[in-house]
């Protein structure tokens, strides 16, 4: 437990020192999406009786929390491992690797929630409608945990910074556009639909959208996200034991 607190304290210090740059850089892309696709292009669009802005807010929340949580862990941890070597300070200390992983993933997930809540506040102020509930926030936090743990895994597996850029280009960026953020996956051809539904961001977009629009939450969303969370954490811990 002390190990987790130490890691969280370190993350809190960095967050405090960089709060404005973190806030600004995390909000630029989602606000652009909201403005361009929501209030701009989407003003005249209606998705099955729902205003387009209300349709995309949950999707943009899912992608923003994904980006913020993933980036909060992946880039700093890969730098700590490959360049600064600050990771060694943790590896030689008597904290367990489980504490280290838990601290990093939790800190990344909290960063994701911070960005998500800011985004929701902006969307509400600008007139978007979204039904908030405890379950909605819980599902958003689960999404943050999934992508913070993916960031942890990727940071320990890559061999150089360009590898991280490639991962972002080939995995994270396609998910932003494919996983039901801007359109319903049901509108895509059947084989592509299967692939999209299997990606880890899709259950978050769809689950959050269902809750935001007052619809019933399908078990598929949290179940698939939990499955991804377990896989990423177990794989990440295995990678921790092997990292040198």
């Amino acid at each position: 437990m002390n190990g987790i607190l130490a890691v969280l304290w370190r993350e809190y210090l960095y967050f405090k020192k960089r709060i404005w740059s973190i806030t600004g850089s995390s909000l630029v892309a989602p606000l652009l999406y909201l403005t361009a696709f929501g209030w701009g292009l989407g003003r005249a669009v209606n998705m099955a009786g729902v205003a387009y802005i209300d349709f995309i807010v949950p999707g943009i929340l899912a992608l923003s929390t994904m980006n913020a949580s993933f980036n909060a862990v992946s880039t700093p941890l890969s730098i700590a491992r490959l360049y600064d070597k600050t990771l060694e300070e943790y590896l030689v200390s008597p904290i367990t690797l489980y504490s280290f992983a838990a601290g990093k993933i939790l800190a990344g997930a909290l960063r994701g929630m911070y960005v998500g809540l800011l985004l929701l506040a902006v969307a509400f102020v600008l007139g978007a409608n979204c039904k908030l509930s405890g379950l909605f926030l819980l599902l958003a936090f689960l999404n943050c945990l999934v992508f913070a743990s993916l960031g942890y895994l990727v940071a320990l597996k890559i061999q150089s910074h360009p590898d991280m850029t490639r991962f972002n280009s080939f995995v994270i960026t396609p998910m932003i556009f494919l996983c039901g953020t801007f359109f319903a996956p049901e509108h895509t051809p059947a084989p592509l639909q299967l692939l999209i539904k299997a990606l880890p961001l899709t259950p978050a977009s769809q689950g959050l959208r269902s809750l935001a629009l007052g619809q019933e939450l399908s078990w598929y969303a949290p179940a698939l996200q939990l499955l991804y969370l377990v896989v990423f954490i177990v794989w990440g811990l295995r990678a921790s034991h092997k990292v040198e």
Binding site: N2, A6, R10, T86, V92, L97
Partner: protein, 280 residues
């Protein structure tokens, strides 16, 4: 006590450390000496469980070294070769974080922090960001950090590399005073004068193999305490003798330029390894 029992480390086909056996007693100041690539850093990385040995076993105070063994980790302090301070945290925050990682109570952290900042003469830099410090100061912070949790064993990997002569001397003084307080020290260096100045016992590593161990005096005596350095045909040759008389007798027949002097640690190294240790 540190015990390395026939420890070998392979990087692919390359042997980085080759059947290294070593006993370092409590309170000892042991220096591992060797040129770049001799296996010094790899040895320290194995002792700190940063990398596992391919073959062999390491124990520290009876505890087997492994990544998951948190018991032995609390007993060692590491000063790495690479400055791995959190760059955007202050000196105080770096030390405090270390204390938290070693499960120290807040009062204990505060007390050690004040003691170590004074000991390393960093009190004025307490609130400075680590990445704004000079090279010498960063080294001192690394030493202070490694000492935060009161380790019984301090591992220093090339602690003065890249420092100017004044900073190097200051770091030497710090390290020496730690040993006089009873801390066991294992130092790796390729600076021969550093090993000569600080260490009570030295091990010479060449291509991962420990080729000899002993005090500086013992190592000199093993090859001969007096050396005749002869410069001829663009090359310096060394001839070792048991005493001054033997050296003089040999030199009297020389026609080339020569010097008679006491054998240095570098001479020992050249004799034993066939390599001249480069200082950077």
């Amino acid at each position: 006590m540190i015990i390395l029992d026939r420890v070998t480390k392979l990087h692919g086909d390359k042997v980085a450390v080759d059947h290294l056996s070593l006993h370092i007693k409590p309170g000892e100041f042991f220096g591992l000496l060797g040129p770049n690539g001799a296996g010094k850093t790899t040895t320290l990385r194995m002792i700190t469980a940063l990398t596992p040995p391919s073959v062999g076993q390491i124990t520290i105070n009876g505890h087997p070294v492994s990544r998951n063994n948190t018991v032995f980790k609390g007993q060692i302090g590491l000063v790495p070769q690479h400055v791995n301070l959190e760059p955007e945290l202050t000196v105080e925050e770096n030390l405090r974080l270390h204390g938290m990682l070693y499960n120290m109570k807040r009062d204990e952290i505060n007390r050690r922090l004040a003691e170590l900042l004074e000991f390393t003469e960093l009190t004025a830099e307490r609130h400075a960001l680590a990445n704004t410090l000079s090279g010498g100061m960063k080294r001192k912070v690394l030493i202070a950090r490694a000492l935060m949790h009161n380790p019984s064993l301090l591992l220093l990997d090339e602690p003065t590399v890249g420092l100017d002569v004044f900073s190097r001397r200051r770091v030497w003084d710090l390290i020496k005073s730690l040993n006089t307080r009873g801390i066991t020290i294992l130092l790796t260096t390729h600076y021969l004068e550093e090993a000569e100045h600080l260490c009570s016992r030295i091990g010479l590593l060449k291509k991962g193999r420990l080729i000899m161990t002993g005090s500086v005096e013992q190592l000199r005596n093993m090859v001969g305490p007096v050396v005749v350095e002869v410069f001829a045909r663009d090359r310096t040759r060394l001839y070792f003798f048991r005493d001054q008389a033997g050296a003089l007798d040999f030199a009297s027949g020389l026609t080339e330029e020569f010097t008679i002097r006491q054998t240095s640690l570098e001479d020992v190294f050249v004799k034993m390894t066939g390599e001249r240790v480069e200082n950077h």
